[in-house]
């Protein structure tokens, strides 16, 4: 089949939104399909929103047998065989309207643009022959804001066979971009409340210097240098596999994220429990407290106690690691299922 994968992008910004597209591309190519990956630019400022929607509407992909659309406004591309794997709305005009992440005023003009966007989105999404999302959170928003039912199709990671378990050392790892909403700071602060010799390793690069400096300052302030390691860079895939193979557990505690996040999946494939928090959003679709990880309040004290528990009760930790693998099968997180559903 000739399949076009369409998404929006910001040049030179890489991350999960590209992974889902490019991993699907590799999987489809391996299955013998012809694939064209189309990334088109998009910025979500009110003044440019509607004209960009029009631009996507003019994209002509008639040569494709099927078009799979990801990030908005890719779903505006017209095609008789359009399938959406919808990963988020333009959130500042949806669930983040009443939040600090809306960086434009709540005035009549912007509300009009918002309403126009909602209406156009609903129409364009309804054109699709099938609508999938990457999480129950996103499906719920589609229902709430657009009145559209969708099917959750959990995105797997690519080449998951790389991940394995070699043992359980004393270190909880958090391998992820270092950003305030990923809340590495909560874990660093949690370390001063621990009673055991449990250690913490943060791996990832930061987009700005401030947050990284703040983390280092906290480590210094509480004298945690010997137990907290901050690896301020984008580690290699091999290193990641290695850290996960040997760690005690993996942490992933973003603030109200849409999906479970690739760090949680990678930990699960490596047979390691996931430490997360009650307000982490989509992660809670994957993690069940005490079964394949720990869910605690987003407070340093609670996280400190959870870190100790992972360290102290090795049997439980190892059992939860095994259960993390089983949980992936239970949710049907694999490429065979993805292809089966997207090409149905």
């Amino acid at each position: 089949m000739k399949i076009a994968l369409c998404s929006s992008f910001v040049p030179f910004v890489y991350g999960g939104a590209r992974n889902i597209v490019e991993w699907l591309e590799s999987t489809l190519l391996a299955e013998g399909h012809q694939v064209e990956r189309i990334y088109l630019p998009h910025i979500d400022t009110p003044d440019q929103l509607l004209s960009q929607m029009a631009a996507y509407r003019w994209v002509d992909l008639e040569a494709a047998d099927r078009v799979i659309c990801f990030r908005p406004p890719a779903h505006f591309i017209p095609h008789p065989n359009k399938v959406l794997w919808f990963i988020h709305h333009v959130r500042a005009f949806y669930d983040l309207w009443d939040s600090p992440y809306r960086n434009f005023p709540d005035d009549r003009r912007n509300r009009t643009i918002r309403d126009a966007l909602h209406e156009a989105d609903t129409r364009a999404i309804n054109e699709a022959r099938a609508v999938f999302t990457n999480s129950a959170v996103v499906s719920q928003r589609l229902r709430q804001y657009n009145g559209i039912d969708s099917e959750v199709l959990y995105p797997p990671i690519f080449d998951a066979g790389r991940f394995h378990c070699q043992g359980f050392n004393d270190e909880v790892v958090y391998i992820c971009r270092v950003e305030h909403h990923k809340r590495q700071h909560l874990l660093v602060e949690a370390m001063r409340h621990t009673q055991t010799p449990v250690r913490l390793r943060l791996c990832g690069s930061a987009s700005g210097a401030d947050y990284m400096e703040e983390l280092h300052a906290t480590v210094h302030r509480y004298g945690l240098e010997s137990r907290v390691c901050i690896d301020n860079r984008w580690i290699t895939e091999e290193q990641k596999v290695d850290y996960l193979a040997n760690c005690l557990a993996a942490a992933y505690l973003p603030l109200d994220e849409d999906s479970y996040g690739y760090p949680s999946l990678e930990a699960s494939h490596a047979g390691k429990p996931i430490l997360t928090t009650t307000d982490s959003g989509g992660v809670l679709e994957l993690v069940e407290n005490g079964r394949n990880g720990l869910i605690c309040d987003p407070l340093p004290e609670a996280l400190g106690a959870a870190l100790d528990r992972l360290y102290d009760d090795r049997h439980a930790t190892e059992r939860m690691g095994q259960a993390a693998r089983d949980r992936l099968d239970e949710l049907g997180i694999n490429w065979a299922r993805v292809l089966n559903r997207l090409l149905a």
Partner: protein, 345 residues
């Protein structure tokens, strides 16, 4: 610097321009920059859908990009404060091809309106660009003639010169690259019927349509040439392509009035192969000098047959011309490093 290469995409087709964009990106990164390629889908049939696609490109918003290097219509319509054009070609069916009646623009007012819109958008884009480079003198002349803009010729380098080492001629004429009626491979088959019996022909490359395959197959059958022609009509790996080229006696490339030298010709010259082309083939004539680096003939079977016979029979002459082609190419001193320096200057 964050440099975005902006190019067109004809979905599910891959051609020379795409290859150029990828190598431009690769070499920008090698020079220490960040680079990505933005590929904008473009469909030119029917012509009535061209204006909306021009608006599409114009409405895209770029952010987090220091420089744009744009290559083709309508990709170069994209808005950016620091845009450099490396023009591979304009929408020729609104310009020179229109004049010779080879256009897909509809007749009458609608066609004229589309042509005017293309020209107006082109002029605006050229005006707002910081620098305009073109890939050939032909493109340069057209840009001046139709739009009144000056430009600098910057010939695209060979992407993988190390593959074209040459080799002993095996008695066949090689025609590589895309197969379609504009590239006129059919003339080679017709000419073969009139050339010396020892001449063989290899046509290898991806056909644009099933009709292009059929046409060649029917000619081979009509003239009973199946033992002298090899049709390998598919997308070849670079290794397969280089193997055909390195063992050829000479390389034939006779597109109708093409803009640039053409990779086929540059790679042939790199490999020290004599070139056979037609008087009306356009850009490639920059590399083919009759008697020195190859044969320039009339685009008809009889003259072409003479050149093909000479290339396979007169070994001294073909070796001399092949060496000449190689020297001329090396004299042009076209490398990726110098190209990047000029694009960013």
């Amino acid at each position: 610097m964050k440099i975005l290469v902006v190019n067109n995409m004809a979905p599910f087709l891959w051609g020379g321009a795409e290859e150029l964009a990828v190598h431009l990106q690769r070499n920008l990164i090698a020079a220490g920059h960040q680079s990505e390629v933005l590929r904008i889908p473009f469909r030119w049939e029917p012509a009535a859908c061209i204006p909306s696609q021009m608006l599409m490109v114009r409405a895209f918003e770029l952010w987090n990009v220091d420089r744009v290097i744009a290559l083709k219509f309508p990709a170069y319509l994209i808005r950016h404060p620091h845009k450099t054009l490396w023009l591979l070609h304009q929408y020729r069916q609104a310009y020179d091809l229109l004049e010779v009646g080879q256009t897909n623009l509809p007749p009458g007012d609608i066609g004229a309106a589309i042509r005017d819109a293309i020209k107006a958008a082109d002029n605006e884009s050229f005006e707002e660009s910081k620098r305009i480079f073109v890939n050939s003198k032909v493109t340069q002349t057209r840009l001046k003639k139709y739009n009144g803009f000056d430009s600098t010729v910057l010939l695209p380098p060979i992407n993988d010169p190390e593959m074209f080492v040459g080799g002993a001629p095996q008695g066949y004429i090689f025609a590589g690259g895309r197969v379609n009626s504009m590239k006129r491979q059919y003339l080679l088959v017709e000419a073969l019927a009139k050339s010396a019996a020892s001449v063989r022909l290899v046509i290898a490359g991806p056909p644009d349509s099933p009709d292009d395959v059929l046409r060649l197959e029917m000619l081979v059958e009509k003239y009973g040439l199946s033992d002298r022609v090899k049709l390998d009509l598919r997308f070849l790996s670079r290794e397969e392509y280089a193997a055909y080229l390195n063992a050829a006696s000479a390389v034939a490339y006779l597109p109708y009035d093409e803009d640039s030298l053409g990779y086929v010709a540059m790679e042939a010259a790199m490999a020290g192969k004599a070139l056979i082309t037609a008087r009306d083939s356009g850009g490639i004539l920059g590399l083919v000098r009759d008697g020195e680096t190859g044969w320039v003939v009339e685009p008809e079977p009889e003259s072409l047959a003479q050149a093909m016979s000479a290339a396979c029979v007169d070994s001294a002459s073909v070796v001399r011309r092949g060496d000449g082609a190689r020297s001329l190419w090396l004299q042009m001193n076209i490398s990726w490093q110098s190209t990047i320096e000029r694009l960013l200057a």
